[in-house]
Amino acid sequence: MRPIPIPEDRHFRPRLIGYDPQKSRPWLERTVYAAYVFVFWLIVIATYAGVPALFGALGWDGGWGFVLMRVLQVVLLFLLSAVIALLLILVLRKYLGKVQERFGPMHYGPAGGIQTVFDALKLLAKEDFVPAAADALTFRLAPAVTFVASFAMFAVIPFASGWVLADTNVGLIYLIAVSTLSAYGVLLGGVSSGNKWALIGALRAGAQMVSYEIPLALVFLTVAVWSGTLRLGGIVDAQLGLWNFLPLALPFVLYVIASLAELKHIPFDFPEAESELIAGYNVEYSGMSFAFFFLAEFVELFLLPALIVVFFFGGWHGPLFGIEPGSLAAGALESLYFTLKTAVWVWIFLWIRATLPRYRDDQLMEFAWKAMIPLALFGLVLAAYMRLIWR
């Protein structure tokens, strides 16, 4: 009786590459997130403290030197938005994985930490396609418009006391103007694609914009009335004793709902409505153009929670442990507080995204016109009276 030889494997087997993949390691994941946040923090410090200090030391803080400084700061902020997008996409996928009893990206890089970098590189190298039916110039321009509109909001966001690019006294009005622009990018992209689904998505975006922008502006007005200033730094400073979300509870709730709509975020993601319009306004976009829409979406997912923190949760305020306000250390600490408060709100938005289905588009409009606008007006009047009585 001869022993039966076990033959060589004739099948193809995938390579087992990956970084000790057989269990989830929460500490490693947290380290990855912390590393991203640390890079984010460093860039913020470099932008708002490092670059001005450098230029001040060189004596270049006037004329063209000032312009150069601002350019450098904007470049750093662009880097910052890339870090934000890479981190938030990773966190979104990991968090969705967690609540769905699975893992999300975990094999490429430590705990899947560089998955989104691979995604970005791939999109960079993918064919960027302009359909024959599209209006080429507008089609190319639309992602840039969307991205620039959300990126321009960085100008007035105060990361710490005095850490803001343009500490203008019309910050709120600037925000209203700029945040509306991102819907224009969506409109342009959808209409110029030459695709019916994209057209429907663009029309939905337009209809959605005219309904939620009004309560949003009314809430801005309420905050301005309550704080007595249009400057974002002033709004934060006015909250030293009491964070605004308590006295302005009603505008706060309305603001959260309206920012969900502005983000095109579930339950109001009608322009993109994956299961209805295939991909909505970006149905014809591929490669880098699509990546810019993606980038804009996730930069907004950072900026709108950041505005919630600025308006209602005391911005950068937090215990300073005796550090002298205005110093570099205080600024660094304050910007960290700001980042962490924003992170909580980003998490709440992601949580909503993981749970809720989508409303119908006319239901948002009905809600906005019939409930949100009257309530926002009521909140405005109430805030004005409260200010008259208490301040």
């Binding site: 969705l96 009893e101 689904w197």
Partner: protein
Amino acid sequence: MSTMNLEPVPGRTDEMIVNMGPQHPATHGVLRVVLGLEGERITRAVPHIGYLHRNHEKIEEARTYPMVIAYTDRMDYVSGTQNELPFVLAVEDMLGVEVPDRAKKIRTIFFELYRLASHLVWMGTAMLDLGAISPFLYTFWDREIILGIVEKTAGARMLPNYYTFGGVRRDVHPDFFKDVADFLDHMERRMVDYEHLVLESPVVHARTKGVGVLDQERAVARGVSGPVLRASGVAYDVRKAFPYDAYPDVEFEIPTSPDGDTYARFWVRFQEMYQSIRILRQLLELTPKTGPYKGRAPARLKPPAGERYRAVENSRGELGVLVVSDGSDKPYRVKHRGAAFSNLQIIPDLFVGAKFSDAIAILSSLDPVFGEIDR
């Protein structure tokens, strides 16, 4: 106007003809619906089928009787063994095969397990169509448990080719009854979560209540069956009307709803899942642990010439089969009556006048499966 192709109406500029499918995330396969859209409102709708036509009935005429069972599996591919049963019952009737009691009960357990699996897939995909991501993943994990139980006994996950003339192909795995009991405990816990995520969600209420109302008369006239019919208030269920296998031995109710809207169809499917759990609990008590699993079928399967129609209530409604025999070992004709096919006929009725988003919700509440529709 031709019924097949939607031509733009001359002089009408406010209507846009949109082609939904065959590749569209919400069409559950390869349905194509040509829609006339006036803004968001649907003015005309023409469904096109046939993108998955693979000549089931013709191929089955060229196969012997046992071979046909393997092909019937591939029709309603979400409900697995449920498709095999009407054909098996019809041929058993023609041959006069005696089926042991235990075999009947095992068959019914599998039947109800697949009903749960199918409704879970429906729930996940319907919620995905409405925009919620998480329920899809939860339901697919529960379905994996069912498929694991099935695979342990039947040898395949989705299309097991398990029923045979006179019973089932092989006896159950020793862990089978314990696995099913464990799964039912698990499922009862999960149903509470699904109630929270689906039936009680205000967003689902807003999207589905009063949307796509199918009244009782039209439901009967269009020949729909299954949960879609019962959601319109007609208490017709083949399991009660023409009982087969072990259904006479178990107690269960037929949930009906008078509303006929999309939410009612959601609700009825939910209640059916509770009834399936109830039936399975009873069957676990009733089924003997050991015993015969297969009756004595003749070695050469040549039913006498004649014809036979048998129907079962599968996850989508009345699934029937007409077998015509000419006395040879191959069927002369096999005609399937698919529930999903009949249910799909109400698409133009319900779509016209609805919003485009509503159309997605209506389509997901019909739960079509294109293997069975196109055959």
